[in-house]
């Protein structure tokens, strides 16, 4: 009971802090992985082939969705968020310089156009770590302080921590949408193709065995043999 309470506490804290798309969609995929094939099985009007195909497809799609939402989305958001933040600062720095209306000096411009991606990522993720476990080098800490100083000068710019976390949330959702629209059904099609190939290879020897057992168990009578092949008929007459 204590463990359950702790688990629920962790879940609600996580959902309250950052309700990323992949959590909700993966949870729903897990629900669907169980209940949709069950509903398909209960359909009494469809043929066996239709049911088998739909069942395989439902099961594979939701399985791939569950893995994809957890795995691919995590990889995408962890690897893309910092480069996009860097691009954001670079574009804004260029914009400020182009407009020439704000007093951006060369040092500020240099910092904005050469963003330390690892420092931004560590700085944002430190929010979720306890005091002793925080990831930082001294250089990164100084760099973030400088960056925050520049951000304070120009209200048009977003705070590095908020920027990283916002970007991560949006990328997570975009990744889920792209997976749902194209990648998951595409992978399912490929898996069904592989399964059908494996199934057809498994069926080949089974057919041969069936034929051989039929021959040994039920030997042809002369009439059956004659009916079966023309050559047989000719052979009989030749005799």
């Amino acid at each position: 009971m204590k463990n359950l309470n702790e688990a629920v506490d962790k879940i609600i804290t996580r959902l309250g802090t950052s309700n990323d798309s992949e959590i909700c969609t993966a949870a729903l995929a897990a629900f669907k992985l169980i209940f949709i094939p069950f509903a398909t099985m209960s359909d009494k009007k469809s043929t066996k082939e239709q049911k088998n195909y739909a069942l395989t497809r439902d099961f594979l799609t939701e399985g791939v969705a569950l893995l994809g939402y957890i795995g691919i989305t995590r990889v995408v958001k962890n690897n893309l968020s910092a480069p996009i933040c860097a691009k954001y600062y670079k574009d804004k720095a260029f914009g400020l310089l182009k407009e020439n209306k704000l007093d951006i000096n060369s040092e500020d411009y240099k910092i904005l156009s050469n963003i330390d991606k690892v420092a931004i990522k560590n700085h944002a993720m430190n929010e979720f770590l306890e005091e002793g476990a925080k990831k930082y080098t001294k250089n990164q800490e100084q760099y973030i302080k400088k960056l925050e100083g520049i951000v304070a000068k120009f209200p048009i710019l977003q705070n590095p921590k908020d920027l990283y976390l916002n970007t991560k949330k949006t990328i997570s959702h975009v990744s889920v949408c792209l997976l749902a629209l194209t990648l998951i059904p595409y992978i399912t099609n490929k898996l069904i193709y592989v399964l059908s190939k494996v199934k057809s290879q498994d069926n080949k020897p089974a057919v041969l065995n069936k034929a051989s057992t039929q021959t040994t168990l039920k030997p042809y009578t002369m009439t059956q043999y004659m009916d079966k092949t023309r050559m047989g008929v000719l052979n009989v007459f030749n005799r």
């Binding site: 879940i11 949709i36 959702h173």
Partner: protein
């Protein structure tokens, strides 16, 4: 490129995608397009099998969106009544609220940031569970009963059109 960067870094977009209702709806609409299309493109199955699976998929996604729209908002308005079942929130006065108005007023008075995070998280968790029940338990059962009458109707209409063209 900068348009994409602007969209991805926009705080309003981040706020929008944090809502589980928005997440489910956008994902569901895209699935309603993607899955039946790819099912019909799959050449390993016969046309009948593909038609059945694609129709079922399309109906399922459309009905689940409709059912979700119809049910999730009334459910979300009442999730605060279930907050008392979370032992993590027992010290918070919010759990004693009896109406949505009272709940909102009490929520404004909560100053502890951690408690606010937990209340938000508990609401999201209940919303996810409710979505799961609507989308994975109720809707597939309805769709299973509807798929054959709709497929028959579609094939009847198709045959009628063919006959009309021939005539």
């Amino acid at each position: 490129m900068s348009l994409i960067v602007n969209f991805l870094t926009n705080p309003a977009a981040a706020d929008f995608v944090q809502n589980s209702t928005c997440q489910v709806l956008s994902e569901g609409c895209l699935k309603a397009v993607g899955r039946p299309t790819f099912t019909l493109l799959d050449k390993t199955a016969t046309l009948e099998e593909r038609k059945y699976s694609a129709t079922k998929e399309l109906l399922y996604q459309s009905f689940s969106m409709a059912a979700f729209f119809a049910l999730i908002f009334p459910i979300k308005k009442n999730t605060f009544r279930l907050l008392k079942f979370f032992p993590q929130l027992k010290d918070c006065d919010v759990i004693n609220a009896k109406t949505i108005k009272e709940y909102q007023e009490k929520l404004k008075q909560v100053t502890d940031k951690k408690m606010l995070t937990k209340i938000k998280g508990a609401n999201e968790l209940m919303s996810i569970i409710a979505s799961g029940i609507i989308l994975a338990v109720i809707t597939p059962q309805i769709v299973t009963r509807l798929v054959h009458p709709i497929m028959n109707k579609l094939s009847d209409d198709g045959q009628k059109n063919k006959l009309d063209k021939k005539a």
